[in-house]
């Protein structure tokens, strides 16, 4: 018999249905992945199962049964007794899912006090054992710590410990590792699977990542716009998708492009022993020691070359990207552009450099001024090179918008565009002046898989056509496969490995690179 049985589920937001006629089941000990992009209704479904829909969403119909018990028919107290030991939930955002005002120990023990007859000492012993199990060192002392004293990955382990402590028969995991670093992601997921296996729990895994599905799920259910489009055992479903949307998702997975030969030329931009330090927090009279973020890095990029700068969070890759554009001041070393030292230039002397370089940011929601029309955003860069009439600028902006697939949308404000469209606007703004060098800072990380695929294709096509050099800052090795000619790996503010793409990906020389590659989930088989 199935542990969880969902039949004809309907979830409504006001008069609109965001989930329609959804049916699925999860067997004992099984892992079912609900797969979909943002807006597919997968998270709402997870919340509906545990009966915790956010305000504004309503369980409008259908049956949800756990071990044969219809949950919607239960009185609140009985339902509460099921939450915890019957079904537990791990949330996406480790920074907000633990109570910041309560010690870890108190939060973990709370569920035990509610659902078991253990006394305080036994509860404490159980908490310590569980913390130890999830890999927290010195667990007894850590029980007294507050959540803010832990890193994101540690918090997610503690979250997992607190949920698994109650031995839930069903574990609902809503994008449990999306907010984490690649390396941490793999560890936390492996831990979750292990714990579930030990306790015989079933898992309902909500994710947008097909890599996770192939590695961790027994079965998968693909959702699009609130409906199930395809369901089946995970491996065959991904190997031979039947539905058009599933095929599109699978097709959006990164594939390695052909290796290019970049004609030899003197470097376009070159960092020589470049260091960047963030100033320490200052008081009136003293200033704390500066925090080094990039330490003596040398990196040169040749005309027309795409270099991927890879590393985990805190590796200094974003700082290096900013510093190569002189958006952050160097604390040591020098920056050469076209053979000329631009490290200390300012004012009008810097303008030539600025005109030749551009950046595309990660978050298209904050990189576009919300009060400007899209056409004006794209036309703004043309203000600075002298000698262009305003009408010409607008015409050029319109042409650029058409080139990135946004013809006719020039009158819109950013908020009236989708995430992918906004990123196209950001790309148009960066390219309209025909720069020689572009930094793309996690430019596709915030996008859904299918959209990401299109934006990568756009960037690649434009790069081939215009021939600008590009520094692609990313944590995602999939993107590297698609677009990079050369790969540079950073850790702790230093470059640890550097080489042609295929060499670094296929025969990594450094341990950190190997760990990154092992942790990056790709389709198996």
């Amino acid at each position: 018999m199935s542990l969880l049985e969902v039949a004809g589920l309907r979830i409504a937001a006001g008069a609109r249905d965001i989930v329609r006629d959804l049916s699925f089941s999860v067997a004992e000990g099984e892992t079912l992945a609900l797969v979909g992009e943002s807006g597919s209704g997968k998270s709402a479904t997870a919340r509906a199962v545990i009966g915790l829909l956010p305000p504004g969403l309503r369980h409008a119909g259908g049956r949800i049964a756990l071990a044969g018990q219809d949950l919607s028919a239960l009185p609140p107290a009985t339902l509460r007794a099921l939450r915890g030991p019957g079904m537990g939930m791990v949330f996406q955002e480790p920074m907000t899912s633990l109570n910041p005002a309560q010690r870890i120990g108190a939060q973990m023990a709370e569920g035990l006090a509610l659902h078991t007859t253990l006394d305080a000492a036994a509860r404490k012993r159980a908490c310590i054992a569980m913390l130890e199990r999830v890999g927290i060192t010195d667990p007894e002392r850590r029980l007294l710590a507050y959540p803010h004293e832990f890193s994101g990955g540690m918090r997610q382990r503690i979250m997992l410990a607190s949920v698994m402590l109650l031995r839930p028969r069903l574990l609902i995991a809503d994008e449990p590792t999306t907010a984490l670093d690649t390396l941490t992601q793999a560890e936390v997921l492996a831990l979750m699977k292990e714990l579930a296996r030990e306790q015989g729990s079933s898992i309902l895994l909500i994710t947008h990542d097909l890599g996770l599905v192939s590695r961790h799920a027994d079965r998968a259910l693909v959702m699009q716009s609130g409906q199930a489009v395809e369901e089946g055992p995970a491996a065959p479903l991904l190997a031979a998708p039947r539905h058009a949307y599933t095929r599109a998702l699978v097709a959006a997975l990164p594939r390695r492009g052909p290796a290019r030969v970049i004609p030899p030329a003197p470097p376009l931009i070159e960092a020589r022993s470049l260091s960047v330090a963030y100033p320490g927090r200052g008081g009136w009279f003293r200033r704390a020691a500066p925090m080094p973020a990039v330490q003596s890095v040398s990196l040169s990029i040749h005309p027309g070359e795409v270099v991927a700068l890879v590393g985990g969070s805190g590796s200094g890759k974003t700082t290096l990207g900013r510093a190569m554009l002189r958006l952050l001041p160097a604390s040591g070393g020098s920056l050469l552009f076209g053979g000329q030292d631009v490290t200390a230039r300012s004012g009008p002397a810097l303008l030539d450099f600025r005109l030749a370089c551009q950046i595309v940011f990660q978050d298209p929601y904050s990189s576009l001024d919300p009060r400007m029309r899209v056409r004006d955003i794209v036309a703004e860069p043309l203000r600075l090179p002298a000698g262009m009439a305003p009408a010409d600028r607008l015409a050029r902006a319109e042409a650029m918008l058409a080139e990135v697939g946004l013809a006719g949308l020039g009158d819109r404000f950013p908020h009236a565009l989708s995430g992918g469209q906004r990123q196209r606007v950001a790309i148009a703004r960066a390219l309209v002046r025909n720069p020689a060098f572009v930094v793309a800072d996690e430019a596709v990380s915030a996008l859904d898989a299918t959209v990401r695929q299109q934006v990568i294709a756009l960037l690649r096509d434009q790069q081939r056509k215009r021939g600008f050099a590009c520094l692609f800052v990313t944590h995602d090795l999939g993107v590297v496969e698609e677009i990079a000619d050369r790969v540079v790996v950073m850790q702790h503010g230093r470059i640890v490995e550097e080489g042609p793409r295929d060499q670094v990906l296929d025969a990594p020389a450094h341990d950190y690179t190997r760990a990154l590659l092992a942790a990056s989930v790709r389709l198996q088989g």
Binding site: L327, L350, R354, I359, F361, S366, S367, L384, F413, A426
Partner: protein, 270 residues
């Protein structure tokens, strides 16, 4: 959404009514609001004197109308003074940072260490009670609050990536400040200005009530309340009417402020 519209309608109606009363009073009042007539002291409401007369035989309805002109005028002038000073300081310290921010910040924090109305009282002790004195005193007392809000929003906006994008385009700091930062401080400043208008009306009437505001015989709601205090038993309407107008005015401002906050709050989308 429904509540937003209700706030807007009720707030707008209340403020509109007070504003209309003030505009009308500029052109016409039933009687001269400052002309005394000791033979008609403390009359109850009648067809002749709609709201009765005060202890000097002045028509209460006319004085309430004249008081609306004083209160709204003083409040508007004060808000402008506070905004002008506060925005200049806030922009300078938020955008220039460094030692400018340190010094301005220290001055601002010191002034904020005084409750607003206490600072106004101290300034009034120096300037002396008069219409312009009260505008200056209250304006200076509330400017630090404006400066703090403007500085805070400048600091948060300049961290947004579109400001960095502007710098990456090669735009100058001045252009970036005017084109990409300043427009975004408008929403919080408008919301604050609305609240400020309410606080100033309240503070002005409190100061006038204490006898430190606009000097008699000019009518303000606050000094009308103060002079009505001894006659509370015989003529309660004298005490009730001006306060009811202040409350109506404040309710209007508060509801409009809530509506504006809902409309302009960046957290709920653009």
């Amino acid at each position: 959404m429904k509540r937003l519209r209700l706030n807007l309608v009720i707030g707008g109606t209340l403020m509109g009514a007070v504003l209309a009363l003030a505009v009308l009073a500029l052109a016409w009042t039933p009687y001269d609001p400052v002309r005394t007539n000791l033979r008609r002291r403390l009359r109850p409401p009648s067809a002749e004197y709609w709201l009765g007369t005060d202890e000097f035989g002045r028509d209460v309805a006319s004085r309430l109308m004249a008081g609306a002109v004083t209160s709204l005028g003083v409040a508007a002038a004060t808000v402008l003074v506070a905004l002008a000073i506060g925005i200049a300081i806030g922009l300078a310290s938020g955008f220039l940072r460094g030692w400018v921010d340190r010094v301005l910040g220290a001055v601002n924090d010191t002034l904020l260490a005084f409750p607003g109305i206490l600072l106004a009282l101290g300034l009034l002790a120096v300037i002396g009670p008069s219409r312009s004195g009260i505008v200056l005193a209250l304006g200076l007392a509330y400017a630090p609050t404006v400066a703090r809000v403007v500085r805070g929003s400048v600091l948060s906006i300049r961290e947004r990536e579109f400001v960095e994008a502007s710098r990456a385009l090669g735009n100058s700091e001045g252009y970036t400040l005017l084109r990409h930062v300043l427009p975004h401080t408008a929403a919080p400043v408008i919301v604050l200005a609305t609240s400020l208008f309410g606080w100033v009306i309240l503070s002005e009437s409190a100061l006038s009530f204490l006898g430190l505001g606009v000097p008699p015989p000019a009518a303000t709601w606050g000094n009308m309340l103060a002079s009505a205090r001894p006659f509370m038993a015989e003529a309660p309407l004298l005490s009730i009417a001006p306060g009811a107008l202040i409350a109506m005015c404040l309710l209007g401002v508060n509801l409009l402020g809530d509506a504006l906050r809902d409309l302009l709050d960046p957290r709920d989308g653009a």
